[in-house]
């Protein structure tokens, strides 16, 4: 099935077509489950004016923080951006625009984008700054706000294993936003720890079916830990 072979062998090929002012949706939660090599490649390409949709924006010297450092990001759509001094500077100086979005709404916006749902109602954010200017409608006596979906020119995703058809599985909590991001990119690129042959992944337990995936690249990962906390007593 060569027509379905999504594997590319260089980061240049993985992000071919990425250009200035595009929207990039990135998987990951904090530094967990982030497509490290794809982020590095975006840094290397030097594209500017990006809108980046990601729950967080990395830290100063790792993850999406690298793109902040090089001033490649025009706008962030995130739920929490608190681990980043550069972010603070660029936000206060007006260089960086930020659209803070509740975490669950952000996840649902990505899912909706991939699923052809242009908008949905949620109680989250009603009566808060998040709800300002958004249509309100009552259902069963409770007010809800209308939230629109998100799609991107590119989605960059980190999976554990993928087969050549682009079927992916994620490891532990490195799953997080990755499956939704994968559905919402016009071009979806997945960076993985291991490429397996079709049939090696159990069909009933594939997290991201290959239909969502355009390119798969074998990466290598530092997997930096943001907050290492240990049990007080050893087991």
């Amino acid at each position: 099935m060569s027509g379905f072979d999504k594997v590319v062998t260089s980061y240049d090929a993985a992000l071919q077509g990425l250009d200035d002012n595009m929207t990039v949706i990135a998987g990951g939660f904090g530094l967990c489950g982030i497509p490290e090599g794809l982020i590095a490649q975006i840094q290397k390409l030097g594209v500017k004016g990006l809108t980046v949709v990601s729950n967080n924006c990395g830290v100063d010297d790792f993850g999406l923080g690298l793109l902040l450092k090089d001033r490649q990001i025009k706008k962030m759509i995130s739920s929490y951006v608190g681990e980043n001094a550069l972010f603070e500077q660029q936000l206060l100086s007006g260089e960086l625009e930020v659209e803070l979005t509740p975490q669950g709404t952000l996840a649902e916006k990505m899912r909706a984008g991939g699923a052809g749902i242009p908008a949905f109602y949620t109680a989250t954010g009603y009566g808060t700054p998040v709800g300002e200017g958004k249509p309100v409608r009552e259902f069963n006596g409770r007010p809800y706000i209308l939230e629109e979906s998100i799609t991107g020119d590119f989605a960059i995703v980190k999976a554990w294993k993928a087969d050549r058809y682009g079927n992916c599985v994620y490891r532990h909590t490195a799953q997080n936003f990755n499956p939704m991001a994968a559905t919402a990119g016009k071009i979806t690129v997945v960076e993985v720890e291991e490429i397996v042959e079709p049939g090696e992944l159990d069909p009933a337990h594939i997290h991201t079916p290959g239909i969502y995936v355009d390119r798969v690249i074998l990466g290598s990962f530092e997997k930096r830990i943001e907050r290492k906390v240990l049990a007080k007593e050893a087991n």
Binding site: E108, P129, M180
Partner: protein, 218 residues
């Protein structure tokens, strides 16, 4: 005497019912996991996609792919499940989590809560807090009754940008346990040795005190 952080957490843990699913915010709420009463079992939900969060790992167990919503390394209990963020917030938004415990800057008599932003200071973002207060069946706010300058955090109306409206029903502070209903705080319990008068003084919003107010029991 005002309660310590640990004592607030202990009192919070008394709220949990056996077999409940609980989401604990960062800080005092997280401590509550250490004080779950004997005979009561709860399962912890972490909004980054883990139901059945366990203890912190040993050095050998540390795994970069296994973290909680506070981005700390963590473990899973036997029988846990792990899922994506959309599924995690489907649980939260859909009202499947029984208890949410979180901190706040301010709460008011309408059950409004402000907990995520202080204008002029840095905006870090609301994370999952807005989803949690919009979705959970029972929300418990933990905080000190007043700030370090003595200003009440229990107001007639919140002054900071809100996290959610009409959603808080129970507040546990270093001084008291209160319910929020009908446009007032209803005093239910006081910290051992704390007089009703002190609570009244430190509560800016309307406080209703009916009958004898018992001391908390630990």
């Amino acid at each position: 005497m005002a309660l310590t952080r640990e004592q607030i957490a202990m009192r919070v843990a008394q709220e949990f019912k056996d077999g409940s699913y609980v989401n604990l915010g960062i800080g005092i709420p997280t401590l509550a996991a250490n004080y779950v009463p004997k005979g009561i079992e709860v399962m912890l939900q972490s909004e980054n996609g883990l139901l059945g969060m366990g203890r912190y790992p040993s050095e050998a167990e540390v795994d970069a792919d296994m973290i909680n919503a506070g981005k700390e390394t963590v473990t899973a209990i036997t029988g846990a499940s792990i899922f994506n963020s959309a599924e995690s917030f489907a649980m939260i938004r859909g009202g499947h989590v029984d208890f949410t415990v979180l901190g706040a800057f301010e709460v008011d008599v309408y059950g409004n809560i402000a907990s995520w932003m202080i204008p002029g200071k840095l905006i870090k973002g609301m994370g999952g807090a807005m989803d949690l207060v919009a979705g959970a069946k029972n929300i418990i706010v933990t905080m000190t009754h007043a700030d370090k300058h003595g200003n009440s955090k229990l107001l007639a109306q919140c002054t900071l940008p809100l996290t959610g409206v009409n959603c808080i029903t129970r507040i546990i502070t270093d001084l008291a346990v209160m319910e929020v209903a009908d446009g007032a705080f209803h005093l239910k319990e006081r910290a051992p040795g704390v007089a009703v008068e002190e609570i009244r003084q430190k509560t800016a919003g309307r406080l209703i005190v009916e009958g004898d107010i018992p001391e908390m029991i630990f």
